[in-house]
């Protein structure tokens, strides 16, 4: 696969604040997500990463500029073929883990035997096999996030947008989940955009890493990692990984300090 899968053209996003002023949250940003690539986004807190994701997915409109998915403009609906895992816990507390994961398939009218098979696979993939009949209250935050990941993956989206999906996981599980996402990415050929706070994670998983400035977020640089498609977390022991990681940190250090200062002023 090649060519742009999703694109932003001169996109900005502003919010009206309660005081009546305008908060310029994002952009202008122009960039392409290449079909089949693994793209990560890193940037200081509050720089507009989630806003970027919402514009690409059609959940939230751009103030100016336009978004395209598979060549068509993204309107006010989320296009078919886009899957999103949110930063917040989005599991349904009234459904069991199995029902949560099968929810989307059921809404699409997939046969129940087929749902069962695919949900079983997803349960094994995210390591929740023993919790299939449990309810979200009985799970930890990280396990709930895995439910949401599985719920998105069973639908086999062509573009997967992940907003800090591993935030609630410990470092070891994070690495393993990262490997699983890589395996899936390779197997399905989907395009992945991952928002993360972890520079190491971005350096390890991605083909390219977009480094964002403090608000209003823009790409300071898009870093190519040059990893082969066949890769896993063992890359973390190599010298190249250290280089990328420290390059990312070099770009971000100043921006993070700016973001922290502006938050201190706002507070």
């Amino acid at each position: 696969m090649s060519g742009a899968h999703a694109s932003l053209r001169e996109v900005t996003r502003s919010f009206a604040t309660e005081k009546g002023s305008v908060l310029h949250a994002l952009g202008p940003i122009s960039f392409d997500l290449q079909a089949g690539e693994f793209f990560s986004v890193v940037g200081p807190s509050g720089c507009g990463k989630s806003t970027l994701l919402e514009i690409i997915s059609g959940l939230s409109p751009a103030s100016t500029g336009s978004a395209l998915f598979e060549g068509r403009p993204v309107g006010s609906d989320v296009p078919e073929g886009v899957g999103v895992v949110f930063q917040e816990d989005a599991s349904f507390p009234w459904l069991s883990v199995r029902e949560n994961i099968g929810f989307g398939l059921q809404q699409q009218g997939v046969r129940s035997a087929e749902i069962r098979r695919r949900v079983d696979d997803a349960l094994r993939l995210v390591g929740l096999w023993d919790f299939a009949e449990a309810y979200p209250v009985q799970l930890s935050g990280g396990m709930r996030q895995r439910v949401c990941i599985a719920r998105t993956l069973v639908l086999q989206p062509r573009l997967i947008l992940l907003d800090e999906p591993f935030g609630a996981l410990d470092q070891q599980t994070r690495l393993l989940m990262g490997d699983e996402v890589l395996t899936l990415w390779r197997a399905t050929g989907a395009t992945v955009m991952l928002i993360t706070h972890s520079l190491d994670e971005a350096a390890l998983l991605s083909d390219r890493v977009g480094v964002m400035s403090a608000r209003p977020g823009r790409f300071l640089e898009i870093v190519e990692t040059g990893w082969p498609r066949e890769r896993d977390s063992r890359l973390a022991t190599g010298a190249r990984f250290g280089e990328i990681s420290s390059h990312l940190w070099g770009l971000l250090r100043g921006e993070s300090m700016k973001a922290m200062r502006s938050q201190a002023v706002a507070a």
């Binding site: 609906d77 917040e88 989005a90 507390p93 009234w94 069991s96 809404q107 209250v137």
Partner: protein, 249 residues
């Protein structure tokens, strides 16, 4: 849970025994209160005679009508108002002070509006119940996390499906709380109105017995009302518990 039930029953039994003793030994005079055992036998006799069957039916039907209407209308109004934030902001103070109005004083107006029949009484029960249901519905809808609505949009659900499959299940505990509230308020409204204002129903019969110094009938009827309300409530409690058991935090 089991143990708590046991303790509760034991406490109630203890109170009953204490009251029985106090009444039998004359610590509490006969004109103040009759012994609980006599209340029970009095109630059994009343029910066996079937004298008050009509009144019981009248009252329970009234409560059921008031509660049913309040649940439907309250839910509808709550959902509607939730969809209209501007109007809601205007009405919020009204809703907040609603229960400060002694609704019984509006009875004369309802009489003029609906005529000399059961309708004004049932309407008072409805007025008591409907706003509780409405605010519970609003409260429940407010607590649906935005991320679940976003999830519904990513899954490309229609508005109707989103409401049925995500919004309602999510708001269910609060809506259910509203249903319980509506039933309790309907009892209070209807029985209170009967007691103070009307010429029929259980509330009226209690007032009548009171005025005639007929303690036996009065206490039997009071016991009856308490038993009915308690059983309806525990029925709902059990149902709610079964529905929500799995998601309780």
């Amino acid at each position: 849970m089991r143990k708590a039930t046991l303790i509760r029953v034991a406490l109630l039994a203890l109170l009953a025994v204490a009251a029985e003793l106090a009444c039998r030994t004359g610590l509490i005079g006969r004109f103040t209160m009759i012994p609980p055992s006599l209340m029970v036998t009095g109630l059994v006799r009343l029910l066996a005679q079937g004298e008050l069957d009509g009144e019981i039916t009248t009252t329970l039907l009234g409560v059921a009508t008031a509660a049913g209407a309040a649940i439907l209308v309250g839910f509808g109004l709550g959902a509607g108002l939730h969809a209209m934030p501007r109007l809601r902001r205007c009405l919020d103070p009204v809703l907040a002070t609603y229960y400060a109005i002694p609704i019984y004083v509006l009875y004369p107006m309802f009489l003029v509006l609906f005529g000399m029949n059961r309708t004004p009484i049932v309407f008072i029960g409805f007025m008591f119940a409907v706003v509780g249901m409405m605010t519970s519905t609003l409260n429940g809808l407010d607590r649906v996390p935005p991320v679940l609505i976003k999830t519904a949009r990513v899954l490309r659900l229609s508005r109707v499906r989103r409401t049925l499959k995500i919004v309602l299940p999510c708001a269910a505990p609060y809506v259910f709380g509203g249903v319980k509230l509506a039933i309790a308020y309907a009892f209070v409204g209807v029985l209170g109105a009967e007691f103070i204002l009307s010429g029929n129903g259980l509330g009226y019969q209690i007032a009548l017995a009171f005025n005639n110094f007929d303690n036996k009938t009065m206490y039997a009827l009071i016991l009856f009302v308490v038993l009915v309300v308690a059983s309806v409530n525990s029925l709902f409690f059990a149902w709610e518990h079964r529905l929500l058991r799995r998601r309780e935090r």
